[in-house]
């Protein structure tokens, strides 16, 4: 195993593929994502889930996101969701007796259990895909601007929206740098003969634990430098700050929203009819 985390951490990475989805107004992307999340939480049939999956697949295709890349980032999630799936099947409460094939105390194997756990599994996977698609296709600044404008009304009740968004931007910007730092420290450790890619499980855990302190100190020092650099460029919170970028809701946004609304409406009709 080589030490290259960044290759396997796909979440939160903006890919800048220049697709029509990339160019949408961030507000329409954020709202669409919320609507689809809402639909995913409500959906209770395989037909509805199929509709939702179709919609997400459509988005992935239009956004030109390579499926292999998405797959690589999902493997860990799939394992976790798989374990969860098995538990849900085995511990399904009150399975209908006519479709229960095997039962031992609380543990059973039934069609009901399979159906229920399957829906749950699909829901988790689709939610993950939704949020990572938003990140793949939206730059951090777009996302921040969208969030800031959408939450603008909350400024009136005194919430520091600009500051909160700035914190989010900086945290997310420094995630890759932090990952890089962890990689470097692990390499430094490996170069000195103790390592996460060899030795017993206990030794590996110890190695990983040992770098926490240096990581923390480096991150703190870095935070101080960044704060200084921001102040040197006259950043003093959102007050009196203006913006270069304007968000425009265009024709493509209207089309995209319409498609998403149609899907969501269809899913809701299926759910409540």
């Amino acid at each position: 195993m080589a030490i290259e985390f960044s290759r396997n951490i796909t979440f939160g990475q903006y890919l800048n593929l220049g697709s029509p989805i990339d160019r949408l107004d961030p507000r329409s992307k954020i709202i669409s994502t919320w609507l689809l999340i809402f639909a995913a939480l409500l959906v209770n049939s395989y037909l509805g889930m199929g509709l939702l999956a179709l919609c997400i697949l459509l988005i992935l295709l239009v956004a030109r996101i390579p499926l292999g890349y998405t797959w690589r980032g999902m493997r860990l999630l799939l394992i976790a969701a798989g374990v969860f799936f098995v538990f849900q099947v085995l511990f399904h409460p009150n399975p209908a007796p006519e479709t229960t094939w095997w039962r031992w105390g609380y543990i059973s194997l039934s069609l009901d259990g399979l159906a229920f756990a399957g829906l749950m599994f699909l829901r988790v996977v689709l939610l993950y895909l939704l949020i990572s698609t938003l990140m793949f296709t939206t730059s951090m600044m777009d996302l921040a601007d969208g969030v800031e404008i959408m939450f603008d009304p909350l400024k009136r009740i005194g919430l520091p929206i600009n500051e909160l968004v700035m914190v989010m931007v900086i945290v997310l910007k420094f995630v890759p740098l932090l990952v890089g730092e962890i990689e470097r420290l692990l390499k430094a450790q490996a170069a000195r003969g103790s390592s996460i890619d060899s030795g017993s499980l206990k030794e590996r855990a110890q190695s990983l634990g040992a770098i926490l302190v240096p990581i923390f100190i480096n991150a703190l020092q870095r935070a101080e430098v960044v704060a200084t650099a921001m102040e040197a460029r006259c950043y003093r919170g959102g007050k009196g700050r203006t913006k270069r970028r304007v968000l425009r809701f265009g024709r493509n946004d209207a089309i995209a929203m319409l498609i998403v609304l149609l899907f969501v409406a269809a899913i809701l009709v299926l759910r409540f009819s």
């Binding site: 290259e4 490996a190 203006t242």
Partner: protein, 583 residues
């Protein structure tokens, strides 16, 4: 005008642990002036910079920027007038894309949108970033990041810009472009630039130079006036440019009398009449390439064949790093691996000690394939020690003794043996065992941390020592101390040393043999002298030359027979005299 009068500053002023950093400094900077501030680490340069932008408040004395005294209540206007560019490009860029980052400052000033657009456009044009405005910051090179940082400050239309050692963390070629840029920006916008550095060759074209030492201003004048005081500079550990020194020597011999020379072109001009007076001679035949050193016939310690590797393989962000590398490292030799940025140097050396194995191709250590199952990687990594770039940020423990004893402890050596290794390693890097053993690492200076990191690798008693860009961020004194240390180590214990770098400098000159990498391929191979004979194409491969090689290349325009394979001033002087120069 930026006026500094009787400025003193102490960290923790008024407390028991007060550390004085500046002593009654007077300084005047005209608007539109290019001022260089030069001095060693710890001379007070960076403290001065922080005071000028209002990030620290003076303990005593006053700073007045264009009539506005710097006080806690005026700091925002002071910071608008005095912008600052920091040493590390990564720490000062806030947004994700180039254009958003440049707009960050003007947005903070609360300017209307079209004014912001206008300023961003100007800054983009001034720094020639036109093609990159929508690029992600993380996809830029170090030099480009530094240019974005400058654009971001420029867009705030400051009257003064402080550059706090912006060239130490970027490749030499990019550093040179940055210095040229200082002049261009002044012409274009009338901004005054205060460039803080410890490299003399960067400041020859500045209007004025201030030399600092121990928190005091010790000299002030034009570069020519300053360089004329070579002995005074040497007393505080600073050197004059090589051309100045060569000019002095030639003047002492009575060959030229042109006063203090600060540019290569000036020496060329001073020598031109002498060169013209020489009888035209037959072009000297290029020396025959000497046979390969004897060591190369032996079985190599490390052998690499057809190595290929890409970062982020299989993702849209894939980036080719190694493209079919063949090379060897022989026991006991000192090998330099040279190349510009993105050449694949750092990636290659990580294959040498098995940190990376995911590539195509093979790496053998002592005849055994590293990729084979059952190969003892831990053993390999202890025998092939690697000191990474900026090792000071990769220390694993909090106390010096603990960090250096990391490997001996892992190996579970008996305490006496472990202690002996640690003591020897610390002594080797010039840190006294008893004094430093129990010190906290965080409290050490950057240079001391780097020594500790080196000691940590030496304490593993490696057979091969790899140093990845070991001079980056070091001042000239630190660089020559490191060169001495490596020379000592390789002579004493027959240690095999691999030096990775981007410049032909005092360090790569220690090498018996050098490889030049370009875009993941080995494009040149041979002794350093062999490489220097084709010095002009080394430039094209992204390598920077030593001052001596650079000067030899310039002098060759008037002495066509001047050899280029010269390593230092003495050799250059001898070669020049051999051209038949007379009084």
């Amino acid at each position: 005008m930026l006026e500094v009068s009787k400025l003193s500053f102490s960290y923790n002023a008024g407390r028991a642990d007060e550390v004085p950093a500046l002593h009654t400094l007077d300084l005047q900077i005209d608007s539109g002036e290019l001022l260089a501030v030069i001095g060693h680490n710890g001379s007070g340069k960076s403290t001065l910079a922080k005071l000028l932008v209002g990030m620290l408040q003076p303990t005593e004395g006053q700073i007045v920027v264009d009539g506005l005294p710097s006080t806690p209540s005026s700091i925002w206007e002071i910071r608008r007038r005095v912008g600052m560019v920091f040493q590390r490009p990564d720490d000062q860029l806030i947004a994700n894309t180039v254009i958003d980052d440049i707009a960050f400052g003007p947005e903070n000033l609360g300017l209307p949108r079209d004014e912001i657009e206008q300023r961003v456009r100007e800054a983009v044009e001034a720094l020639d970033l036109g093609g990159r405005i929508n690029t992600q910051i993380s996809d830029l090179s170090g030099g480009e990041k530094q240019r974005v940082a400058i654009a971001g400050v420029l867009a705030m239309r400051p009257n003064y810009m402080i550059w706090d050692e912006p060239t130490t963390m970027i490749a030499p070629q990019q550093a040179r472009n940055l210095i040229a840029l200082a002049h261009e920006l002044r012409e274009r916008t009338g901004v005054s630039i205060i460039h803080i550095t410890h490299f003399m060759h960067e400041i020859v074209a500045f209007d004025r130079v201030v030399v600092m030492d121990g928190g005091r201003k010790v000299m002030e004048g034009t570069p020519r006036e300053i360089f004329a005081e070579a002995d005074a500079l040497r007393a505080i550990g600073l050197n004059v440019p090589l051309v100045t020194e060569l000019g002095r020597r030639l003047e002492r011999r009575g060959i030229i009398s042109a006063g203090t020379l600060i540019r290569n072109a000036e020496l060329v001009e001073a020598l031109r009449p002498k060169a013209a007076a020489l009888p035209a001679s037959e072009p000297r035949p290029e020396p025959r390439e000497e046979a390969v050193p004897a060591a190369e016939q032996a079985e190599p310690l490390i052998k690499v064949r057809d190595l290929r590797f890409s970062y982020m393989a299989g993702t849209p962000l894939e980036q080719l790093a190694l493209d079919g590398i063949d090379c060897e490292v022989y026991e006991g030799e000192t090998l330099a691996i040279l190349g510009g940025s993105q050449a694949g140097k750092s990636t290659l050396v990580e294959f040498f000690n098995g940190l990376r194995r995911a590539g195509k191709g093979h790496v053998w250590y002592r005849g055994r394939d590293v990729g084979e199952s059952g190969f003892d990687l831990s053993q390999l990594r202890r025998e092939v020690g690697i000191v990474f770039q900026q090792p000071e940020s990769q220390l694993l423990e909090d106390i010096v003794g603990k960090d250096v004893s990391y490997v001996p402890r892992k190996k579970k050596l008996p305490p006496a043996e472990s202690r002996a290794l640690v003591e020897r390693a610390l002594t080797d890097v010039g840190l006294d065992y008893e004094t430093y053993r129990l010190r906290y690492i965080y409290a050490l200076s950057g240079g001391q941390k780097r020594r500790v990191a080196l000691a940590g690798v030496l304490a593993a008693d490696p057979k091969v020592l790899i140093l990845d860009e070991p001079v980056a961020g070091l001042d000239p004194r630190g660089r020559s101390e490191l060169a001495d240390l490596i020379r000592k180590l390789s002579q004493r214990s027959g240690l095999t040393v691999v030096l990775v770098g981007n410049t032909i400098d005092e360090l790569s000159e220690l090498a018996d043999r050098a490889l030049v990498l370009h875009k993941g391929k080995v494009v040149r191979q041979g002794s350093l002298r062999q490489l220097l004979r084709h010095a002009d194409d080394l430039h094209a491969l992204g390598l920077a030359l030593s001052e001596a090689a650079e000067l030899a290349l310039d002098l060759r325009t008037i002495f066509p027979n001047l050899p280029l394979d010269l390593l230092d001033l003495d050799e250059l002087e001898t070669a020049l005299l051999a051209q038949g120069l007379a009084v």
